[in-house]
């Protein structure tokens, strides 16, 4: 399998925090300027490291939300109530701070090469790498067909609303809300299942590259349903997160 091997060690660096802004009910957008940044592929992530007095450290991986064409990088972090790193990044960190990070990492779950159709399927903050991909798509002319199916709990949980509203005509964004919709909502409601996928995603006959990202249970259900619909597993890439789901 052809990889984009990075053999140079990527060192920790201290990025300037330019802004921390609320993005959605539980998500915040961090605008960062790393001093040494040679670009990233849409879909890649960085590792963030926090250090306490006394040297204790905690690190986590976060997908990059911004397109490579944009200066600096943006992360969108969902606050997990019982988390250790995300509460700090969303409630303590502020403009003017330094944030240690290194990257970009991950050469697999990235914007697919070629000009064939691309189907993106996001659950919750799983939309973050897709914002980078859609930004890249727009910046590079936006010629290939792209569809995004995005499942969020409520309207207030929607991440990237501003970006998703201004997409080129080749991009079709479908949002489904799983825990109630506001009055006047014209999008979908309900969980992503095989029926919803059949109606609102690029059919397997067109052989789209499919990327699915979200919580484990969501991605597991989506990937199984995609196989049921007849998609070739070779064209399905997944990225799962979250500590839920028993053995």
């Amino acid at each position: 399998m052809a990889g984009t091997a990075i053999r140079r060690r990527l060192s920790w660096q201290r990025a300037d925090v330019l802004a921390v802004q609320r993005e959605a009910r539980r998500a915040y957008r961090l605008s960062l300027r790393p001093p040494d940044w040679s670009g990233h592929l849409p879909g890649q992530h960085v590792d963030v490291r926090l250090t306490a007095e006394g040297g204790y450290t905690a690190q986590r991986s976060y997908s990059i939300a911004s397109a490579p064409q944009q200066p600096g990088i943006e992360l969108i972090v969902e606050r997990l109530e019982d988390g250790e790193v995300s509460p700090y990044l969303t409630e303590v960190l502020r403009a003017g701070d330094l944030l240690e990070l290194r990257g970009p990492f991950g050469g697999y779950f990235v914007w697919p090469a070629g000009d064939g159709p691309v189907q993106l399927i996001a659950g919750g903050s799983g939309v973050v790498p897709f914002l980078s991909m859609l930004g890249h798509h727009r910046a590079t002319g936006g010629l290939r067909q792209v569809r995004l199916l995005y499942s969020a709990r409520t309207f207030d949980d929607l991440i990237g609303q501003a970006e998703l509203a201004r997409q080129p005509s080749t991009v079709e964004v479908t949002v489904t809300l799983t825990r109630g919709a506001p009055a006047g909502w014209t999008g979908l409601t309900g969980r992503v299942d095989a029926r919803l996928l059949a109606e609102h995603t690029i059919p397997p006959a067109q052989e789209p590259e499919v990327l699915a990202c979200g919580p484990t249970g969501f991605v597991e259900a989506v990937a199984n349903a995609l196989l049921e619909l007849g998609h070739d597993p070779i064209r399905i890439k997944t990225e799962r997160f979250g500590a839920t789901g028993g053995p």
Partner: protein
């Protein structure tokens, strides 16, 4: 380095000293799932396990034959490169020593290969001498598909991506051949105690 993240105190779970490699946290009761693609579902009557490549003779076990091999129970800590660790995980399966018992080989490396096309490479010396198992049982139950069932490799002293899910065999090789994540910028060896997460670490 004396960098301190302003206002960060840490909320670490109490973990006995020496149990967590650097940069890891205890995930507690959770068991995250990370896989590159859909979960493959292979029926047990089509499942087999092979030892092939640089060997005197290829070995193959059907599921029924595999079930008759001597079994071992292990309780180990596992460490994922994405920084979670899970302590005292209980597995059951067949030691790789058992699977390689009579194999004559000049190989120094193995590539574990799986349903779905996943591969990962390891030095042969890291999967022998009681360091690796092919497990089909987790916490007293058959291993769930999303965690690698029907069977996965378990090499607990390396980051968990080396413990290939849905494993179907070991290919013995003379040369070291990078596997799936190893070709995408992750470390070739992956020792959590030396924090070998990415290439060059």
């Amino acid at each position: 380095m004396s960098f301190v993240s302003r206002g960060f105190t840490g909320r670490r779970r109490a973990v006995p000293a020496g149990r967590l490699p650097p940069g890891q946290y205890d995930v507690g009761d959770g068991f995250p799932v990370l896989s590159a693609g859909p979960t493959p579902y292979t029926s047990l009557d089509r499942w087999d396990f092979r030892v092939r490549g640089q060997v005197d003779e290829e070995r193959r076990w059907s599921w029924a034959e595999f079930q008759k091999l001597p079994r071992e129970s292990v309780v180990v800590d596992v460490h994922c490169v994405t920084s979670w660790s899970k302590l005292d995980t209980r597995w059951e399966g067949v030691s790789v020593d058992t699977l390689l018992a009579d194999v004559v080989t000049a190989a120094e490396f193995v590539v574990a290969f799986s349903d779905g096309g996943y591969t990962t490479n390891l030095p042969l010396a890291d999967v022998t001498d009681g360091q690796a198992w092919v497990v089909d049982n987790y916490d007293g139950r058959p291993l769930a598909p999303e965690h690698g069932g029907p069977a996965r490799l378990l090499v607990p002293h390396l980051y968990l991506w080396k413990s290939a899910k849905w494993v179907r065999g070991l290919e013995l090789t003379v040369e070291d051949e990078p596997g799936f994540w190893e070709s995408f910028g992750y470390h070739n060896y992956g020792d959590p105690w030396r924090e070998q997460r990415y290439a060059g670490d």
